[in-house]
Amino acid sequence: MKAIFNIFLVLLSGNLYAENCSGWFKKNGQQIKLKYAKMFTVYTYKKNYLINVADQNYLLSHNSASFNLCAPTLRVNIPVKRVVALSTTYIPAIALLHEEKSLVGFSNIKYISSASIDKKQLIEVQYPPNPELVLSTKADLVVAYVATSAKLEGVERLLQLKIPVVLNADFLEKHPLARAEWFKFFGFFYNKEKAANKIFNEIEREFDSIKSNVKKNVSRRPLVLVGKNDNGIWRGPSAQSDFIKLLTLAGADYFFPKKNKVAESIESVLKNLNKIDFWLPQNSWYNLNQLLAHDQRYKNFPFVMAKNVYNSTNKVTRNGGNDYWESAFMRPDLLLKDLVKIFHPHLLPHHELQWFKKLDYAKSK
């Protein structure tokens, strides 16, 4: 009986030692306030950071092994020197923090648009990530996105092999500025908190200035259709998405203002065709020929006849990597400028479209 009691005591003391870091930092640390991002939180305690993402907590420290006050999901020694990224959306943060040389591996190299990344230095680790290739990079950090199934998408296998994987949930953010605040997330790992804050503050300042300019000077708000018709169903982004929020801030109204999921019969669009001013398909079309090849009935749409169709295919590499999906949502200030330039060009006469282009008929080669 005494032996059982002793074992119980040992187990209990073990549990006390292994107190979850989330709880410990909440009690003893100080929270670093984030303005817009909701999908991660940060606490600090004597130059140690604890970042929580999707029920995982990462202890960032200059010597993480010496920190034994709580048990995190993962210990990371900062600054990280060798990083593997599994999404192109992490590249703008790495580039703006001037840490391009730290990137040693990527899931599908041909889709990287950023010119500042030396693709020859990268090992293609594939997606789902091949554990052997990831191990060969000798990375001290792998940044992966929160997957629907960690097992199916290979992240669980990396964790089993003790590969230091941190999850990123920037794509789940709702506020247009929230994704840009994930620059701070990378700032902590590179021990460049101040630089990341400075980048974010500049983005926020520029964003607010454009926003107030639109608020003051826009009297008529054009109606905008986003998405395209597939099999008789119009599919587009949710009215709650950060893109549609940006579109609204740019002084325009979305065609489906109250829909959380847009998969509507094409007829619901057709009956209001004359009210629509602009169309942003957000797909891979480069010209009106491709648009009409998809469905020649588009030629009767008033906004197609007026060539008021803008698509996010202005910056596409020869391999098909589109910088819009890589950078635009990390730079909401520039994306907002693009949208304002489309809907109210007089407000930004000198701005040149970054990611969007006005679709026209292609010239025969």
Binding site: S265, E267, S284, N289, Q290, K365
Partner: protein, 331 residues
């Protein structure tokens, strides 16, 4: 009776949709007496009518292809898929959508315009050529069947490679194509589609006599004067053209081709192809239109055509076969 059902479904399908166009207005439209608004008129002539025409012809083509395959192989499980033509079309579309779409701006505008349809026709024509070559060299139906199935496997493997190399956007496009739809064909495409399908069905009626002879068995048919090689080539060619065209324009549409000939035989209790071909065509059109009616009933939920066909058709057929007498299915 089938004709009457088809006629009724034709008008019901034309009247269903988020924009209200009543049956009486439709009748007036056909007699040039109606004055619909420009929008309603566009919805009717550019969207609803082409959709119904494509459903009728697509359904008929797949059903007739299924009948041809079941007669050719004398096997009730045969359908338009077994020759691998649809797999070939899917392979063409996968290569185009998953590998070429991201760099389509590097292609000439004329090639961009052909797009998916061109890739699909190329894929199905390639399979057809291989099949005809095999049937010239080895006039054994079993070997043709095995080649068709092997080709489908190879296509599936290559499609999987394309999927693993593609980006999320291209993958979504391919997935949407693979769900099948009668709603994407219009204008010049509709003219080409209609002409090919009608010619194909007409040509099938022209070989009804050899098809009837085939049911007696190859050897006996030969003694009755059947030119079996010529008939075989004709069947392979027609199935490839009919099912390949439907796949090229509407995506891979399952279920219809296998099951419709069974229902027609059950109803009509005959194996005479002079009767079966038009009946199967009408029944195929009817099933396709019914699926579209179900799809149009609730505009708030987008249900893919293939899902409707499977959910609607399989339980019905199971009950139908369960209650019927097994020995009435003749092969």
């Amino acid at each position: 009776m089938l004709g009457t059902f088809c006629f009724l479904l034709f008008f019901v399908l034309l009247s269903i949709g988020p924009v209200g166009i009543s049956l009486s207005e439709i009748f007036k439209l056909f007699t040039n007496q109606s004055e619909l608004s420009a929008t309603s008129s566009m919805i009717f002539w550019d969207y609803r009518l082409p959709k119904v025409i494509v459903a009728i012809l697509g359904g008929a083509a797949l059903a007739v292809s299924g009948l041809l395959m079941q007669t050719f192989f004398q096997n009730p499980l045969a359908g338009p898929y077994v020759l691998g033509v649809q797999s070939g079309a899917a392979l063409g579309v996968a290569c185009w959508t998953l590998l070429l779409t991201p760099i389509s701006h590097l292609l000439s505008p004329s090639l961009q315009s052909f797009g998916v349809t061109f890739a699909s026709i190329l894929g199905s024509s390639f399979t057809l050529s291989v099949l005809l070559l095999v049937s010239f060299r080895m006039p054994n139906k079993l070997i043709i069947l095995i080649f068709g199935l092997l080709f489908a496997q190879v296509s599936g493997g290559i499609i999987n490679i394309c999927i693993s190399l593609s980006n999320a956007q291209a993958l979504k496009s391919f997935m949407l194509w693979s769900l099948g739809s009668f709603q994407q064909v219009a204008g010049n495409d509709l003219i080409i589609f209609s002409a090919v399908i009608m010619l194909g069905i007409f040509a099938t009626v022209m070989i009804a006599k050899p098809l009837n002879l085939l049911l007696l068995g190859d050897e006996y048919a030969k003694t009755l004067g059947l030119k079996s090689k010529k008939t075989n080539y004709s069947i392979i060619f027609l199935v490839s053209i009919l099912s390949g065209t439907v796949t090229a324009f509407c995506g891979p549409i399952g279920f219809l081709g296998i099951i419709t000939p069974h229902v027609a035989r059950k109803f009509l209790r005959t194996n005479n192809h002079y009767i079966l071909i038009p009946a199967v065509a009408l029944l195929g059109a009817m099933v396709a239109m019914t699926a579209e009616v179900f799809a149009g009933l609730n505009s708030a939920i987008a249900i893919p055509l293939n899902a409707i066909l499977g959910l609607m058709g399989v339980p019905f057929i199971m009950v139908f076969l369960w209650r019927g007498r097994q020995n009435e299915v003749v092969f």
